[in-house]
């Protein structure tokens, strides 16, 4: 199969194959946000990875709910052994791709990504052995900064896959794919939180007041209720969101886009 961004295609004329792959990739990008089932998204993700000239792809979405809880939702279109190794070795604790995405917004290549510890060096070696000898790392930043970060990593066993002129085109398309996947993951997480927690509109109204910085007394006055009643309601909301206090509950609601 001929890929969209191989070095052989770097001439001025656009080959018909390339146009077909390009059109297919744009079609995939436009469909991801509206998809529901995870299986279909991973299937399209796998197809997009191939369209981009890569062989492997991983998307990670990191959400820092509160001080003691971080969720890492990931989509895998690569060697299954790498998926298992990532969990077994707890690579998420020393993942240079995730570290890079937490501080930078520009896509980069693994050849330009500096490792800062022995663990990260070991990660790079292990990733290279599982289809990421050459990698393109595309961060997907969000409006909530460090609290929610996404990163797409495209990999190839060919060490020159993302070198040369092809990188300038691949980075644009990879960034678009990263943003679409991140948007989809956040949407699904929001739906799961709403379904799992059982929050209702009255709970969200309370959380909106909390996010605006209103005290129980002020909220009680607005809702024609006693301040103690407001406190009791917040206790139930905290329990639904598994939050230690109402400030954290409001933070979680904002992070998941509920407010």
């Amino acid at each position: 199969m001929r890929h969209l961004l191989t070095s052989a295609d770097s001439g001025d004329s656009i080959s018909p194959h390339r146009v077909v792959e390009h059109t297919r990739l744009l079609d995939i990008l436009s469909r991801i946000a509206d998809l529901g089932p995870t299986g279909e998204v991973i299937s399209l993700f796998r197809e997009a990875v191939i369209c981009l000239g890569a062989e492997s792809g991983v998307f990670l979405s990191c959400l820092r709910d509160d001080a003691s809880r971080t969720s890492l939702h990931t989509l895998w279109a690569c060697d299954p052994e790498w998926t298992a190794a990532y969990a077994r070795q707890r690579w998420f604790e020393s993942d240079p791709w995730l570290r890079y995405a937490s501080h930078e917004a520009e896509p980069t290549r693994s050849s330009e990504l500096l490792t800062v510890s022995r663990e990260e060096e070991a990660f790079a070696l292990a990733a290279a052995a599982h289809g990421f000898a050459s990698a393109l790392v595309a961060p997907a930043p969000s409006q909530v900064g460090l609290s929610r970060v996404g990163v797409l990593c495209l990999g190839s066993r060919n060490t020159a896959c993302f070198e040369g002129e092809s990188f300038s085109q691949a980075r644009v398309l990879a960034r678009a794919l990263a943003m679409e996947l991140h948007h989809w993951v956040v949407k699904v997480m929001r739906q799961e939180l709403l379904a799992g927690s059982g929050l209702n509109e009255a709970d969200l109204e309370l959380l909106r007041h909390e996010a605006a910085g209103h005290s129980s007394k002020a909220i009680g006055a607005a809702l024609n209720l006693e301040a103690k009643t407001i406190d009791c309601r917040f206790q139930r909301v905290n329990a639904k969101l598994d939050a230690p206090d109402r400030r954290t509950a409001a933070r979680i609601a904002r992070l998941y886009g509920l407010l």
Partner: protein, 145 residues
């Protein structure tokens, strides 16, 4: 002198400063969350360790076409679902503190599923669950074919 008049600027409306209602401190959303105090952190730890399964797990257990397998210590959960694209698996690895890792992957065939099974750490930690996982995975893949 000409007959032009100097333009007159409309008097800007005075900004009315309402009495601030936001008395409570707000956490900046774009920064890491503040750490909990010792007492509150201990209480939260106690709540987490004694809490029952999340609502999502209870719900999925009864849905047709979905298998939910949980390790004996409740730390690892597998959700299996047959799809037209292959076997969808969501592996969730929870910790009381630290990262909760959710991995979603699709196995198009039995070969890729077996490759993953060969590296899954749970095969040593919870053999019974692992055997059940392999059986149900193969059954789902056979159903897809």
């Amino acid at each position: 002198m000409n007959g032009f008049e100097l333009p007159t600027a409309a008097t800007p409306a005075l900004a009315t400063l309402e009495r601030p209602v936001a008395k409570r401190r707000l956490d900046p959303i774009d920064e890491p969350a503040r750490p909990l105090g010792a007492k509150r952190a201990a209480l939260q730890r106690q709540r987490v360790t004694t809490s029952t399964r999340p609502a999502r797990q209870r719900r999925c257990g009864t849905e047709p076409g979905i298998s939910l397998l949980t390790s004996h210590d409740d730390k690892v959960t597998f959700l299996l679902r047959s799809t037209t694209f292959g076997l969808l698996m969501e592996r969730t690895q929870r910790q009381i503190h630290g990262v909760c890792l959710v991995q979603a992957m699709v196995f198009p065939d039995a070969e890729s599923f077996d490759r993953w099974c060969g590296c899954e750490p749970l095969r040593f930690e919870d053999g019974l669950l692992f055997n059940k996982l392999v059986r149900e995975g193969h059954a789902a893949l056979a159903h897809i074919r």
